[in-house]
């Protein structure tokens, strides 16, 4: 198997080896070893749950920095829709967009605009689709990675389209290349991301062979710089219309926005990885077949709840909604005919199917796997069932699994260890009570008989 790149990593200096993250990880991908958290790379889906959870801020997302702009002749910023929810009420969209020029970009292209294209394509697709329902959104890479390892039989119900991030990069680079005559390869497209999973997605994309995105920069990294340049437009007398996305695309920044844009007859929108899991369980059991489209987002509240965002998700959400109300509705940049043409040409269809990754399997041979499972059940039964995490595995069952896989021992369990110590102590005591024959009963009798 190839080595996995992950955006979510550990700052070992800050990690105190507590068990908060291992218990919260939705795919049980973290263990504590030698006093530090260790991420099991092949399991991690980059959802960022541990980043939110860690009380010591030891979980970080590796994203690109502005320094990478120097590698390209012409740079385009691709801000996620949720980005606009990160500012105070009085800030307007034009100021934010213009500020990107101040921090070194030549151009800015709203991902919301690309979202409108994807939204339209999925809408048309659903009108013609006769297969199994519901169809799932392909926008959240963390959810797709979750499905790969835990819900593989739902993968063929993923909407076969590229993500808005990918579409934005392609359109923005093509347009710039055509307009300015700069070779496509010399244009850098940088996604401004609320989310570590997008970094991973850019490096190892699931729905296309090669990503057109050249870098993913965390919102947390550039937020201050953007704030500093918010006044640029008024001072420099910048152009008045950088904003092209309508409310339909911008609303992709929070849960329900995407499904509203797609406007299928029956839709469902869910945010939060643990909620997504219970919904997927339900759908996997064959329920909700009457739902046309399910918007599934790893973060509570959708992308506004992304771990790299600045604002509290509820604040971010309301700010974004306000902003949409005040500035959002303008005439669409892409006409209905443009969108129809894009769909007809299948321009932004996914070119790769999302493949399952069977990493939960105990053994390649069913008999051997079954044997291990037997042992697994036995060990689980013998463990205390406290799920305390002190052994470094998230639950007793997970410890049993780790023992089977040969990466942990039964005595890693403190309760088990205590039991063993107790037995040993009793044995020692028993041994201590044994008196050699030369000193036992008879000699005692002698003692008793002795006169004082």
């Amino acid at each position: 198997m190839n080595t996995y790149f992950h955006s979510v990593t550990l700052d070992t200096d800050k990690c105190k080896g507590c068990t908060n993250c291992i218990k919260r990880c939705p795919v049980e991908a973290i263990r504590v070893r030698d006093g530090k958290a260790v991420i099991v790379e092949e399991r991690c889906i980059d959802c960022g749950e541990c980043i939110r959870e860690c009380p010591n801020h030891a979980k970080i997302a590796v994203t690109d920095s502005l320094a990478k702009l120097s590698e390209y002749k012409y740079n385009i910023a691709l801000p996620a829709p949720s980005f606009f929810g990160q500012f105070k009420e009085q800030v307007n969209i034009e100021d934010v967009l213009y500020a990107f020029r101040g921090i070194g970009f030549d151009e800015v292209f709203e991902v919301a605009l690309a979202a409108e294209i994807v939204g339209h394509s999925v809408h048309e697709f659903l009108n013609e689709y006769k297969g199994k329902r519901p169809i799932f959104s392909s926008a959240c890479p963390a959810v797709l990675r979750l499905m790969q390892i835990k819900y593989p039989d739902l993968l063929d119900q993923v909407a076969p389209f590229l993500t808005p991030m990918e579409v934005a990069a392609r359109i923005a680079k093509e347009q710039a290349s055509r307009k300015l005559g700069i070779p496509y390869e010399e244009i850098g497209a940088f996604f401004i991301s609320p989310c570590p999973a997008k970094v991973t997605e850019m490096r190892n994309p699931m729905t296309t062979k090669h990503s057109a995105v050249n870098g993913v920069i965390g919102v947390n990294l550039i937020y201050k710089d953007i704030i500093r340049h918010l006044g640029d437009r008024t001072t420099n007398g910048g152009p008045d219309r950088l904003q092209r996305a309508t409310k339909f695309g911008m609303a992709w920044g929070y849960v329900t926005g995407e499904s509203r844009n797609i406007a299928a007859a029956t839709t469902l929108a869910v945010g939060g990885i643990h909620n997504v899991i219970s919904l997927l369980e339900e759908i996997e059991r064959g329920e909700l077949k009457d739902v046309d489209f399910v918007e599934v987002q790893a973060c509570t509240g959708g992308c506004v709840g992304g771990p790299l965002n600045i604002q509290n998700l509820f604040v971010g959400r309301i700010r974004l909604r306000d902003l949409i109300k005040r500035f959002g509705t303008r005439e669409a940049y892409f006409t209905e005919a443009d969108l129809q043409e894009i769909y007809r040409q299948n321009r932004f269809a996914a070119t790769e199917p999302v493949e399952p990754r069977a990493i939960m399997t105990l053994d390649e041979d069913v008999s051997r796997a079954l044997m291990k499972m037997e042992r697994l059940d036995q060990i689980t039964d013998e463990l205390p069932g406290l799920d305390c995490g002190a052994c470094g595995s998230p639950s007793c069952r997970a410890l049993a699994e780790d023992i089977i896989r040969g990466i942990a021992f039964e005595t890693d369990c403190v309760i088990k260890l205590r039991e063993k110590v107790k037995i040993l102590a009793e044995e020692i005591l028993d041994l201590a009570r044994i008196v050699p024959p030369s000193m036992s009963d008879n000699s005692k009798k002698g003692d008793v008989g002795r006169e004082h």
């Binding site: 593989p152 039989d153 369980e281 339900e282 996997e284 059991r285 064959g286 329920e287 399952p356 069977a358 939960m360 399997t361 105990l362 053994d363 390649e364 041979d365 069913v366 008999s367 051997r368 796997a369 079954l370 044997m371 499972m373 037997e374 059940d377």
Partner: protein, 155 residues
């Protein structure tokens, strides 16, 4: 199969189902599904098994007063057995028909009892036996082989 194994490994999972305990049916199915995924079975086989368990457990929850689902996994096949105490089935052939249902209005209102359960189970099983006594209860035995079985022509 591997010859080096001195014994045949096997696992039994049991689930108790109470009257109208619709929640547990889904839980049984996903528990078994996870187990089968860990065993590395093919997706389509897992899916068939999950449907059988879900539908069979739902039948117990809908129609019986109490029951038990027992799932027995061996290296080459899985057996799903439900035993219940309850109304029983008057005419098994009729009950197997798609769309035939004796579920109450309330249960149908909840989105269950569409009369597809037994026919779904039949479609997914390689072997299916149902025994029932009216007023006493029903026993269902379904078997699925992990290797693709030649299917009778009438299916």
């Amino acid at each position: 199969m591997v010859d080096s194994l001195a014994y045949t490994p096997q696992i039994t999972l049991e689930f108790k189902i109470g009257e109208k305990d619709f929640f547990v049916a889904g839980e049984c199915a996903s528990r078994v599904k996870k187990t089968l995924q860990q065993l590395g079975l093919k997706q389509n086989v897992i899916k068939r098994i999950a449907i059988i368990i879900y539908e069979a457990a739902m039948n117990v929850a809908i129609h019986a007063t109490s029951g038990m689902v027992t799932v027995h996994i061996e290296p080459d096949a899985i057996t799903i057995r439900t035993e219940d105490v309850g109304a029983g089935i008057e005419d098994i052939d009729l009950a197997m028909k798609e769309g035939y249902s004796t579920a109450t209005y309330e249960i149908r209102e909840m989105g269950f009892g569409a009369g597809m359960g037994l026919s779904n189970i039949k479609q997914c099983s390689d072997d299916l036996k149902i025994e029932s006594k009216v007023g006493v209860g029903t026993t269902l035995n379904a078997k699925v082989y992990f290797q693709e079985q030649p299917r009778p022509a009438d299916r």
